[in-house]
């Protein structure tokens, strides 16, 4: 017994030290792609937890780590119920297996909607508690003491009376032989000692020393590289092409037409791309979308003058006799997600099997799509999920676009040839699946007392869900187009929100925070315009209408208080405030802006308040708010995809402008303490960012930016 105890102490010290030094490094030679230890030695009571004899605890992460921190957050939940030491924790992406790893809120395996923590919360608490119970049972059996006398703390199992203790690793193999408990007791949240603390990110080390593996880094024996020529207009198809000139280039292996264009396969990416760039392809544009941004905007504006299908109605806006009426029109451009890592994947098709390596966000859908292309059953397709260099919604799409392309090219190659497809930045910017362009027409009535008595909001734009498994039932309103507008939190007695869903041949997709990317901007900026017309302070006017929404109110109050709302900023400076709920998390920002020497406006400081229920890791919450602010603010400040005669006018970051270091203000994040269920933070930081800045610009200049992006070519704010 003493032997075990001694060994275990040394084990613990060793593993703790190793953990401190190496941290977590994920390379293809280790973890997911290496042969696992013989199963019997590892305690694996469920699909999520692996306690190994080397005293590491690995959590299988069913969600894609794309920056939002799921490796760290989901692992912390397991570690908490297991009473593990953070240094012994590891994380690994789970394989594609819908039965084991479905998102409990989607019914399929996939990441999105800021659901990772929310849907995994009880599942992973149970998973961790189960492993703990088995380790305790194994120790009790070995030490011949009652389980109730055993304690577990920071990865050490102890029996105080007999002064024995051991690491998890010591008992992993023995615990694995015990029956898996069905009913385990979870901790009282007041006893949490990891959840709610600032545990360092588990993916830090690899992302700092360059060893973290993304799809673009995958190397397989016999691998070839591919680049694709897409039609210049959406809906265009290949009419004819001549592979001969490309085939003459040294290193080119194949030129092949696939469903979305023409692919060049070569022995290096650069060769494939060069050959692709030189292809002479005749396109058939007879069915392609040929309208440009100007035509679409004119059509949308005309549509917006009439009410669309009702999304929300209360009271009777038509019957209101307002003392004052305020109107505004907003237009929002198409937006590309532009994750830093462009779309890419590696797929290999073998006899009776296929295997893929990439930052997979929709495992169930992608697995079926690869299977379809390869002529296999979904369960014959293995997906190794790597880190993703951002997504912002782009990698989660019902068409599995770039994954299908990679599979089609692999299908065209001899069996056992892994194909790595990389889209160039231009392919990515012009490849579609944009946040749709929208037009909003808004009207509000104010009575003699200055109260807002009516609010009419007409939204015009494409449906993201149309034509996908997520489509609304026939005749039902497309909720994603109006979320954030139809559930306006302000108590206004007469409300009418309506929608025109348009049909345009430009492929569209959700972008980080989906409908709220535009509805929060329109509603929150318009609110300030109305408040001004009513002679009210925008912060006080919001509070007065939020009695039914205490969580909105609380974040507003916290942000306003920390920002010193109402205090004098001095000349040429102003503040703006905005609040939004998205995916059941609540975020408010106060932005401070100043006029710079050149007559432009600069954002100097931002104060954020967030309520996301129980906080797993305050530092990750702050990081997501900082990044969410930057992402949302950057989009409204600078970014637009525009079309001319159906062709996208932007290509790379020189024309699709995004937020840079010099644009980023100082930002501080305050978290509302809460014991509510945890909700997500990946998206909710985005919606109120743009409007907070716009409202500050409005306060400073008297002009509210209603046509986005704020910095249109040649315009300064």
């Amino acid at each position: 017994m003493n032997q075990i105890s001694k060994t275990s102490r040394r084990d613990i010290l060793k593993s703790a030290a190793a953990g401190l030094v190496i941290g977590f490094v994920w390379t293809p030679n280790r973890s997911a792609f290496a042969a696992p230890e013989p199963a019997a030695k590892i305690l694996a009571p469920n699909a999520f937890v692996r306690v190994a004899p080397d005293n590491t605890v690995t959590v299988m992460i069913k969600h894609l780590e794309m920056g939002q921190g799921v490796y760290t957050g989901l692992t912390a939940i397991v570690a908490e119920e297991l009473d593990a030491d953070w240094n012994q924790m590891r994380a690994e992406h789970a394989p594609a297996d819908t039965a084991l790893y479905k998102n409990l809120l989607f019914g399929m395996q996939g990441t999105g909607g800021s659901t990772a923590i929310a849907n995994s919360w009880m599942q992973l608490r149970n998973a961790g508690a189960m492993a703990r119970a088995m380790l305790v049972a194994a120790a009790a059996k070995e030490w011949k003491v009652p389980e109730t006398e055993i304690t577990v703390k920071k990865g050490v199992i102890s029996h105080a009376a007999s002064q024995r203790s051991a690491s998890f690793g010591i008992f992993a193999a023995r615990a694995a032989l015990l029956p898996v408990p069905t009913d385990v007791k979870l901790k009282d949240p007041k006893d949490f000692n990891l959840i709610g603390t600032e545990l360092p990110r588990l993916d830090n080390a690899g992302k700092i020393n360059g060893t973290a593996v993304y799809a673009i880094d995958i190397v397989r024996p016999n691998m070839v590289y591919a680049s694709i020529a897409h039609p210049p207009r959406f809906g265009g198809v290949v009419k004819s092409f001549d592979p001969a000139p490309a085939m003459k280039i040294k290193g080119v292996i194949k030129v092949v037409q696939i469903s979305s264009g023409v692919a060049v396969v070569a022995d290096s990416f650069w060769t494939a791309k060069r050959a692709r760039d030189g292809l002479n392809i005749e396109w058939d544009d007879s069915k392609a979308e040929k309208r440009g941004t100007a035509e679409l905007l004119a059509e949308y504006k005309a549509l917006a003058q009439k009410p669309g299908a009702s999304a929300k109605k209360s009271g009777d806006v038509a019957a209101v006799k307002a003392a004052k009426t305020v109107t505004a029109e907003f237009d929002f451009p198409y937006l590309a997600h532009a994750p830093m890592e462009p779309m890419d994947a590696v797929v290999e098709i073998r006899d009776g099997a296929a295997e893929a390596w990439y930052g997979c966000q929709f495992q169930t859908i992608d697995q079926a799509a690869i299977a379809r292309v390869a002529g296999l059953k979904p369960e014959q397709v293995t997906i190794n999920t790597t880190f993703a260099g951002g997504s912002f919604g782009r990698r989660a799409n019902a068409a599995s676009d770039y994954v299908v392309e990679t599979a089609e090219i692999a299908k065209a190659m001899p069996p056992n040839t892994p194909v790595k497809l990389i889209w160039t930045r231009e392919d990515d910017t012009r490849g579609g699946k944009y946040r749709p362009a929208y037009f909003h027409n808004m009207k509000a009535g104010i009575d003699e007392k200055g109260d807002i008595v009516s609010w009419t909001h007409t939204v015009v734009g494409q449906s993201i869900a149309a034509g996908t498994p997520f489509a609304p039932k026939a005749d039902a309103i497309d909720t994603m187009s109006v979320e954030g507008a139809s559930n306006l939190p302000y108590a206004i007695p007469n409300l009418d929100v309506n929608l025109h869903t348009t049909k345009v041949g430009v492929p569209v997709l959700w972008l980080r925070s989906v409908g709220s990317t535009h509805t929060a901007y329109a509603t929150e900026v318009f609110f300030d315009m109305v408040a001004k017309a009513a002679g009210k302070d925008p912060y006080a006017a919001r509070l007065a209408l939020l009695d039914q929404h205490p969580r909105h109110k609380a974040v507003l109050e916290l942000a306003a208080q920390k920002a010193g709302w109402g205090t004098d900023l001095g000349p040429n400076k102003a503040r703006g405030i905005a609040v939004a709920e998205a995916f059941s998390s609540y975020v408010a920002y106060v932005a401070e802006v100043s006029r710079d020497k050149n007559g432009g406006v600069k954002v100097d400081r931002v104060v954020c308040a967030v309520d996301c229920g129980t906080v797993i890791n305050p530092d990750v919450v702050r990081a997501q708010m900082e990044g969410g602010f930057g992402f949302g603010y950057g989009l409204v400040l600078k970014s637009a995809i525009t079309l001319k005669e159906g062709k996208v006018e932007q290509g790379n970051f020189d024309s699709y402008d995004v937020l840079r270091m010099s644009d980023m203000p100082k930002i501080e994040v305050h978290i509302v303490p809460s014991t509510e269920k945890p909700t997500g933070v990946g998206e909710p930081g985005v919606p109120p960012a743009g409007p907070a800045v716009a409202n500050a610009i409005f306060a400073l200049t008297g002009k509210a930016p209603t046509s986005l992006p704020i910095l249109k070519k040649g315009l300064s704010v």
Partner: protein, 151 residues
């Protein structure tokens, strides 16, 4: 035609088309994949390496142009400044998706080598060529200041 240069302190000879961008030569021929592709036209900084100590966009330099030069990638960082930068990055949990961070770190190391105590304006000037779509800019700025203090 082969090009010879020093890569992370080791002499290498890469038998590739002299026009191949250094980025792809490093990634696909030398097998060092820590340096990333983000734009290919010197607009994003994901591919930043040091050529003879100068932060350079490897996507826009033909491999032949570094013949005889010393090239350092994220995998080859080792001096005190690099260690300070990487440990500040770790301490402040800068990374999110991480894809831009090799380039950010290479640019930050070059900045701190030239300007040991940079101001916010110095940081804006040196780092605005490095895009981070996760917008970790606030923490990058803090981490550079933190590293400057520790050097």
């Amino acid at each position: 035609m082969a090009t010879s240069f020093e890569l992370n302190g080791i002499s290498v000879t890469l038998d590739v088309d002299p026009e191949m961008p250094l980025l792809w030569a490093i990634r696909e021929k030398a097998g060092l994949v820590g340096t990333k592709y983000g734009c290919g036209i010197a607009q994003c900084g994901a591919c930043t390496v040091h050529v003879d100590g100068v932060a350079s966009r490897s996507c826009s330099i033909p491999v032949s142009a570094v013949a005889g030069s010393k090239v350092t990638t994220i995998e080859g960082l080792s001096n005190t400044i690099s260690q300070a930068v990487q440990s500040s990055w770790q301490k402040l949990n800068v990374v999110q998706c991480g894809y831009c961070q090799s380039g950010q770190i290479m640019s930050a190391v070059a900045l701190l080598t030239d300007v040991p105590k940079p101001t916010d304006a110095d940081i804006d000037a040196a780092m605005s060529g490095n895009i981070c779509r996760c917008a970790t800019y606030h923490r990058i700025r803090e981490a550079i200041h933190d590293a400057a203090k520790s050097i």
